[in-house]
Symmetry: C2
Subunit: 255 residues, 2 copies
Amino acid sequence: MSSHNPFTNVTALHRCTKVKCGFCSGLSPEARHELSKLARIRSYRAGQTIVAQAEEVHIIGTVLEGVVRANKTLRDGRHQIVGLLLPSDVFGRLDGATSRVSLEAASDANVCSFKRQPFESLMDRFPEIERRMLLAVSDQLDAAQDWMLLLATQSVLERVATFLLMFCARDAGDRGALDIPVSRRDMAAYLGTTVESVSRAMQAMKRAGILEGSHSRHIEVTDFRRLASLSQHEPEQLGIASRLPNIGQNLHTSR
Amino acid sequence: MSSHNPFTNVTALHRCTKVKCGFCSGLSPEARHELSKLARIRSYRAGQTIVAQAEEVHIIGTVLEGVVRANKTLRDGRHQIVGLLLPSDVFGRLDGATSRVSLEAASDANVCSFKRQPFESLMDRFPEIERRMLLAVSDQLDAAQDWMLLLATQSVLERVATFLLMFCARDAGDRGALDIPVSRRDMAAYLGTTVESVSRAMQAMKRAGILEGSHSRHIEVTDFRRLASLSQHEPEQLGIASRLPNIGQNLHTSR
DNA sequence: CGTTAAGTTGAGGTGGATCAACGCGTGTGG
DNA sequence: CCACACGCGTTGATCCACCTCAACTTAACG
């Protein structure tokens, strides 16, 4: 969106004026003001790398628009998406260590970023900023552990259901309309499976009357209950408690 | 160890005088002194629950001796160990939220614990304590993401190799002697597989001349290189960089 | 020495990876 | 404008790593 230089990652570089971004919301005016002096908005096109694995981390940031994937790669090339960062999610390592994931734009994305060192000294001056980081990282740890459970114990069908449920709760439209913000490839990499298996799972859910939709990126959830009962996760445990109250007690299925 | 009351979790309850525990090492004398006033040592027997899943968290703590497992359970009973906490590791949630894992002693264990609220106000007074928590949680996030990669992409043989490698690096004796601190059951639950598969993998490594040892909990690693090359993980990425300095450049294998 | 839990070994079934083919939308260049 | 290539998603057929169930061995303990 808007013109950009194809030879760099960065298509725009200017002050962040957003108040609602991941860090800034809820901070004191002073802290926000100081942060805004450090903030730079950067735009990445789908596929571009924001921070490479094993590279020293020099920025801390938060996603404004789009989806950023946190990817890990094994020596032999096998890889796994260990986190999908959506708007308001934060990323970055705090000590000067090397990044243990590579951060890549899964779609065109805008991020608000801070240079690490000035950011860290700002954390020293404003403990509220450090507290926000601590809570953000704690939430990511929870999410990662939820995902470990999913990867280790659930079938592909259940994993896909859980994935859809997450996004449903986050930003499904009134009539269950849902835009899946990532490709099948990324879905598969996040769910620890293959594109073929994801495809089969989605078709199975359509046949079962849980989903509708012909376009691969856009679906409609027609039977929320059954989707939730397939997932087997406690809704609150998926960070989706905010929407659709009381879908917790509906779901009793034997394996 | 020592007498205990079978009707409570707690077999000993007294001041923590250790300076080398997870939190205390490296802190300023003032912070250490204030912390020690809050600290209580509790002893748990293997199998006892320290914090239950979905229970409100009222303690923050650090492991002094033994192994604590962080367990997650699905509605239908399937479960997964999402973290093994060894001495110096910390646990606990910072805001007053409910715990999303259950913490259980995997062996007889001693932990040093703090009540959450006084601990949090201590964090406010001593930012260095909050910084330690932030780094601790960040490290746990890294570990969880490593494990996601392992669970999603690696074979059982590779997972077992990685598991052994972690403990090798942490506390293997001179001649590769290694005491596995958890049961096969816990190993399997941590590795996202079954006891049978773990057993077969270990026997296969013995047959291949990588391991020796007749007692199930005690083995000797006779071919470190091959174990490391089986693992496929970067040694630094396993939190095992501290020990056994240069085992990094040895491992080049094709899949 | 009986009992029970932990670990190992064997035999069989299966969920999902793999390999391959095909449809579809999009971009590119002649 | 068509021809072609290319990426993406879907579908089908095959195969294998691992789960499951079951039997057996070993260790631990009263």
